[in-house]
């Protein structure tokens, strides 16, 4: 029983970081109806950013979390204004090709610069864990989950209580109405893409503490983020977090009780069940 509880706790903690990563995808899609197929690639860039800052300046990921998220916001803002904006409202396949092309460039760029080897961040507490009775909970996982929860909460508060957040929600609810009342939709879209990438930046930085950065992770992360947001409900912020936790726990339990090598099969099984029984996702609704 204690070991099962251990497995569930580890799954919840990992799932929260997954959820934060998927949150970025959900926010961008919920507002702009653009599916970011380079989502995992941006996550891996953030992991490398955290790795470089740790290796060169000795700065721990939790310290550089906000600067990296801020830098990703700026990158996202500029990317939307320059590259994505002309594709908003165009056919889905055109957006798909654009973002898959961007993803390919990123992965190959990372391979050129860093090579294929995994790059770990060895923190002073990387090998420590909290022992509660017979439970062992990794310190890095606890910190990463707390970080993910804090960033997600900040994003909720931003959308709920700030004027910009309210304006973005208005754009998501009724684009024409938002434009009629004089909201600068292009500017708000750029801010939204920036916020989505800031989430990815934060998630990648936290992820770097629990997984080693490697270009080969990018595609898997994109797929994971998609699975989570489809289960949670495309465009639903709470759904992304719930989906992340569900995936984290189901993978952990399936790995423990059935076969570790079949972990990912269960997240896809969950995806199929949700698509059949509730195609809009568990908490599917617009932002």
């Amino acid at each position: 029983m204690a070991i099962t509880l251990n497995v569930i706790v580890q799954g919840v903690l990992t799932g929260l970081v997954y959820g934060l990563m998927a949150l970025g995808l959900s926010v961008i899609f919920g507002v702009m109806r653009v599916v970011n197929f380079a989502h995992g690639e941006f996550t891996v860039i953030a992991m490398y950013a955290a790795f470089i800052l740790f290796e060169m300046l000795g700065l721990q990921p939790l310290i550089v979390l906000l600067p990296i998220a801020a830098a990703f916001f700026v990158v996202g803002y500029l990317l939307q204004r320059s590259l994505i904006s002309p594709f908003v409202g165009r056919a889905e396949h055109e957006q798909f090709i654009l973002l898959v092309g961007l993803a390919t460039v990123i992965v190959n760029g990372l391979l050129l610069v860093f090579g294929p080897d995994a790059r770990p961040i060895n923190l002073p507490y990387s090998f420590d864990s909290y022992a509660i009775g017979s439970l062992f909970i990794d310190k890095v996982r606890v910190y990463a989950a707390l970080g993910a929860f804090a960033v997600a909460a900040a994003l909720f508060l931003f959308f709920r209580y700030t004027r910009t957040g309210t304006a973005i929600r208005a754009c998501a609810d009724n684009l024409t109405g938002a434009a009629v009342v004089g909201l600068d939709v292009k500017q708000l879209y750029a801010v939204t893409f920036g916020l989505g990438l800031a989430c990815v930046g934060a998630a990648g930085t936290l992820m770097a503490t629990i997984a080693d950065a490697s270009p080969s992770l990018a595609q898997a992360y994109t797929l994971l983020a998609f699975t989570i947001v489809i289960i949670g409900g495309l465009g639903s912020m709470v759904g992304a977090l719930v989906g992340g936790v569900l995936i984290g726990v189901s993978e952990a339990l399936a790995g423990f009780y059935i076969q570790p090598s079949m972990k990912s099969m269960f997240s896809f099984a969950l995806l199929i069940i949700v698509l059949v029984l509730r195609p809009q996702g568990l908490l599917g609704r617009r932002l």
Binding site: I3, Q10, P116, A118, F127, D212, E251, P260, K263, S264
Partner: protein
């Protein structure tokens, strides 16, 4: 200029024809009688096997100078097979067309099988440096020799070394868990374990075999499962990245086995593993064929390697470097004895190989009727001060084995 027909005799026409025939046949004769053997070294230097392929390549780069010191003359052509069997086949064909008299390669079993088919058709000998698929020496190829154990031999010899390790260190493990990647190599090792472990007579019980996905983010669930089983020994088949995750999660969950042992797989002795784990990388054991630190050939190879490849550590690279060097040495030695590079003659000399001085641990290199060296023992290599160090067999060991391994705590 008018031709003086009166000077044309039957004798002069015959002499001219003979001279022409000699000239036309010259390339073949020259090819068979060259002073240096032209060897094409085919390795996966790019693609998904690039890391190991590059390591083998470094062995091939350093080989000519060492072979020359031992009185052998070789001319190497280095070819990248891009981790792709189709490319391996095409490049082997091209290398032979361009004058290669022997081929050495190719680290990967699939690529080596593709090359073997070309060599068989063209009657050009292939000396396999590293490739474990049994069918390479079971399909009746007449132009192939392999100085590398088959997958089954690797597991069997690995289990024998584990027994020797238990005898030497006097540890008394009662239980073990076998954790392996679910990729091709890992599943082949699992098959070998399933078949050979019950016959090996080891003094511990195998509680469970656990496959894992090498693409997994971490191995926390796997380690939790292992912790629940609480085995004395952890037998693993991993790659470097997974081995790092395994040790990291084992330490985090405060699980302390007597030893983590790999029965013939990479991962625990990679530079990446040492860099990521520091002192936690020490005391793990690999039971696999290894370079003999006491052999004069290995010492010469290490000296040349250190000089030519200062960025790499020979003790970490010596598995790939040693086997690649030995393959080249086998070809050069056969050429010296045959006195010709003619394919069938060179192959006869290869099959008659009896080479006492070589880099890897083991008795003189000989081949059976199928072209397999059946006597390639494994050794126990333990990580000590982040360097893989031979601890068994005693005649090749430079340190004594230390087991049970010291606790994780206090090592970070």
């Amino acid at each position: 200029m008018p031709i003086d027909h009166r000077k044309l005799s039957r004798r002069s026409v015959l002499a001219g024809t003979a001279a022409g025939a000699v000239l036309l046949g010259a390339p073949g004769i020259v090819r068979a009688q060259t002073k240096a053997l032209k060897i094409a070294v085919l390795l996966p230097r790019s693609g998904y096997l690039a890391q190991a392929g590059q390591s083998c390549h470094r062995g091939a780069l350093v080989a000519p100078s060492v072979l020359s010191d031992f009185g052998h003359k070789v001319e190497l052509v280095h070819i990248d097979m891009e981790s792709n069997p189709d490319v391996a086949r095409t490049q082997a064909e091209r290398a032979i067309n361009e004058g290669a008299q022997c081929i050495v390669g190719a680290f990967d079993s699939a690529g080596t099988l593709a090359i073997a088919q070309v060599c068989e058709q063209r009657k050009v000998p292939l000396v396999v440096n590293i490739a474990a698929a049994p069918q390479l020496t079971e399909q009746g190829y007449k132009y192939l020799v392999r100085n590398f154990p088959t997958g089954g031999m690797l597991v069997r010899n690995g289990l024998q070394q584990i027994q020797a390790l238990i005898d030497t260190t006097k540890i008394a493990p009662k239980t073990a868990v076998f954790l392996h990647a679910n990729d091709n190599f890992g599943m082949a090792q699992r098959k070998g374990m399933d078949a050979l472990f019950p016959k090996a007579g080891l003094p511990f019980k195998l509680l469970e075999s656990i496959p894992y996905d090498p693409k997994a983010q971490d191995l926390s669930v796997e380690v939790t499962k292992i912790r629940g089983l609480n085995p004395d020994l952890l037998l693993v088949v991993t790659r470097a990245a997974d081995a790092i995750k395994l040790v990291r999660d084992t330490v985090r969950q405060k699980f302390q086995p007597m030893a983590i042992i790999s029965p013939g797989a990479p991962g625990l002795y990679d530079e990446e593993f040492y860099k990521a784990l520091g002192p936690l990388a020490d005391y793990h054991v690999d039971a696999l064929p290894w370079a003999n630190p006491k052999s004069k050939v290995t010492q010469a190879l290490e000296a040349a390697f250190t000089k030519q490849q200062p960025k790499y550590r020979f003790p970490v690279e010596c598995f790939n470097v040693g086997f690649t060097f030995d393959a080249l040495l086998i070809a050069a030695d056969a050429f010296k004895r045959a006195g010709t590079a003619d394919g069938p003659e060179l192959m006869k000399a290869l099959m008659a190989t009896d080479l006492a001085d070589h880099a890897m641990i083991g008795p003189p290199i000989k081949f059976d009727a199928k072209g397999q060296n059946v006597d390639i023992p494994s050794s126990c290599v333990q990580n000590r001060n982040r360097t893989p160090t031979v601890v068994l067999p005693a005649d090749a060991a430079t340190m004594a084995p230390v087991l049970p391994m010291p606790p994780w705590q206090g090592r970070t």
